[in-house]
């Protein structure tokens, strides 16, 4: 099968991972800008990071026949520092029109703080002014429900943002219905032993339907699996879902969402 991973942090993965992905049918990926596992020292670090996401990583991916797209923004974990946020937001316009950039992401909330909200609001306004797509990171664990609701309220307060051009990621059982009801796309993330599993992701497909759903590995520098979307596709298959339905979830859906950006062409 062919599949698209719409949320994977390839800069943390090895060339072995690229090889395993490409021979398994993952020929298109998108990488949101996120926290590096440590707080960066200055805005210059983000300049390097955005260069890596827009120049270095697509070239590395291309050697394996994989198309690499990315999303730019300041993640919520580093948004508590408003001085840093000012400086990082100021350099985004230098990079946002590069050929592999799909829009703003992953922007969102982490602990649902006032500063996180202020920085998110500014980035939503930047995306709205450019009519860019948005990929939203929702908080993890006990903060997810509250944060998801706060984020959706903020987006609805920005009338220039069309929910069908926004994907709210890391959705789980308690947030999916509210996200779908408001017209957003929703993402489900597969983590090997901490949060979402393939079984629960396919339960959501069965309960809520596959419309406006993208499933991703969020493969990064922590425990994660760059082939997890294929394992999830197999979970769907072994429950008796047909190939067309599997293809819809793991290839056509991410292609439809990201294809709203004219730069995006799926392999």
């Amino acid at each position: 099968m062919k599949a698209i991973d719409p949320h994977i942090h390839m800069i943390s993965r090895t060339t072995d991972d690229y090889m395993r992905m490409t021979i398994s049918g993952i020929h298109t990926v998108a990488e949101p800008a996120f926290w590096a596992g440590f707080d960066r020292a200055s805005a210059d670090c983000f300049r390097d990071y955005f260069h890596q996401l827009t120049v270095v990583e697509p070239a590395r991916a291309a050697r394996f026949g994989i198309k690499h797209y990315c999303w730019l923004g300041l993640n919520s974990k580093e948004s508590e520092n408003l001085t840093l946020a000012d400086e990082v937001l100021a350099i985004i316009p230098e990079f946002i029109d590069r050929p592999n950039v799909l829009g703003f992401g992953e922007i969102g909330l982490n602990k649902n703080s006032k500063n996180e909200m202020a920085v998110l609001e500014r980035q939503l306004a930047m995306a709205a002014a450019r009519n860019d797509l948005v990929l939203v990171h929702t908080p993890h664990l006990e903060d997810k429900l509250k944060g998801t609701r706060m984020i959706m309220d903020m987006i609805r307060n920005e009338p220039r943002l069309d929910p069908s051009r926004v994907l709210i990621d890391h959705a789980e059982e308690h947030t999916i219905a509210e996200i779908k009801d408001r017209g957003f796309w929703f993402g489900m993330t597969l983590y090997p032993n901490s949060k979402g599993s393939p079984e629960r992701a396919i339960d959501a497909v069965e309960i809520y339907g596959s419309e406006r759903l993208c499933i991703n590995s969020s493969g990064d520098w922590s425990v994660s699996d760059p082939l997890s979307i294929l394992k999830c596709a197999n979970e769907m298959r072994r429950r008796g879902h047909g190939e067309a339905a599997v293809n819809q979830v793991f290839y056509e859906n991410p292609k439809s969402f990201m294809g709203q950006c004219p730069k995006f062409v799926a392999n």
Partner: protein
């Protein structure tokens, strides 16, 4: 089992997932035993995470449907106001404010 040749029935689901979920229950039972066995068990059992854990075990058993959602909601921060600052804050997997 009918899949992949036709739609599955509930008994097929039981058949497919019983052993692995039996194993998960064994992991949970031995996790609770492990806490009991180590020094300071009373302190650990008073922790908000342990209390939340007991609560979601009850929810899992007693909720007639949509158990996964009910567990998620029980572990969530129910407040609606933003935090003044996120400095030094992290997520625990259960809401600390629920602790009495």
């Amino acid at each position: 089992m009918s899949a992949p040749y036709g739609p599955m029935r509930a008994i097929d689901i039981l058949d497919l997932y019983f052993i692995e979920n039996r194993s998960r229950i064994m992991d949970i039972a031995s996790f609770l035993d492990r806490i009991d066995r180590y020094e300071g068990a009373d302190e650990a059992k008073a922790d908000f995470r342990y209390q939340a854990f007991l609560q979601i075990l009850d929810i899992t058993r007693d909720t007639p449907r949509d158990r996964a959602k009910a567990v998620q909601v029980a572990l969530s921060d129910p407040t609606t106001e933003p935090l003044d600052s996120a400095l030094g804050m992290k997520a625990y997997g259960a809401w600390k404010g629920a602790a009495k």
